[in-house]
Amino acid sequence: DAGVTQSPTHLIKTRGQQVTLRCSPKSGHDTVSWYQQALGQGPQFIFQYYEEEERQRGNFPDRFSGHQFPNYSSELNVNALLLGDSALYLCASSLGTGGEQFFGPGTRLTVL
């Protein structure tokens, strides 16, 4: 039974570029949440997808957008990258919007 997987593991971009991160949920899960974890900080909630729609959103600008596919996998897109977007991006999946969340290993994004 595969857990939550994320790709790529690491990514380096320059300011102004766009990036897409990918997440496959744990088998049987239908809900995906994304978190941003800056160095030395706790994860911060970005948004949650369920039934291919954004259901909840944290305090992040519109540059951050996402998508969920019919197979429950999800993408996080960030446009016009800023240096401050450098962080570990975590994906968590759950069964339903109220279920226990299981985290993936994250994607380390570095913006130069």
């Binding site: 706790g42 994860p43 975590l90 919007t97 969340q101």
Partner: protein, 115 residues
């Protein structure tokens, strides 16, 4: 629920001793609390949870205490082992108000176990 914080950023303990990690939260409406362990290069891993209608919950070598009067949460690890070295986060959820399981994390405490 966005102001979950921790009293101590670092904690060093001798192997075999008990560890206590503390956390303060500010949202009195939070109804569910979770402790996570995060090892280097990995995502947060669930340790133990507690609902707001409880004041204590025990797991294997871990105990979580909740004091709603002072909005304080603690994680006790018995007989701490080198494998317990990691960053520990408390997180809160306000399921009843939001209808969702969005986690609000604190900054974290780095636990170092000295052999």
């Amino acid at each position: 629920g966005e102001n979950v914080g921790l009293h101590l950023p670092t904690l060093s303990v001798q192997e075999g001793d008990n560890s206590i990690i503390n956390c303060a939260y500010s949202n009195s409406a939070s109804d569910y609390f979770i402790w996570y362990k995060q090892e280097s290069g990995k995502g947060p891993q669930f340790i133990i949870d507690i609902r707001s209608n409880m004041d204590k919950r025990q797991g294997q070598r871990v105990t979580v205490l909740l004091n709603k009067t002072v909005k304080h949460l603690s994680l006790q690890i018995a007989a701490t082992q080198p494998g317990d070295s990691a960053v520990y986060f408390c997180a809160e959820i306000d399921v009843l108000s939001t209808g969702a399981n969005n986690l609000f994390f604190g900054t974290g405490t780095r636990l170092t176990v000295i052999p």
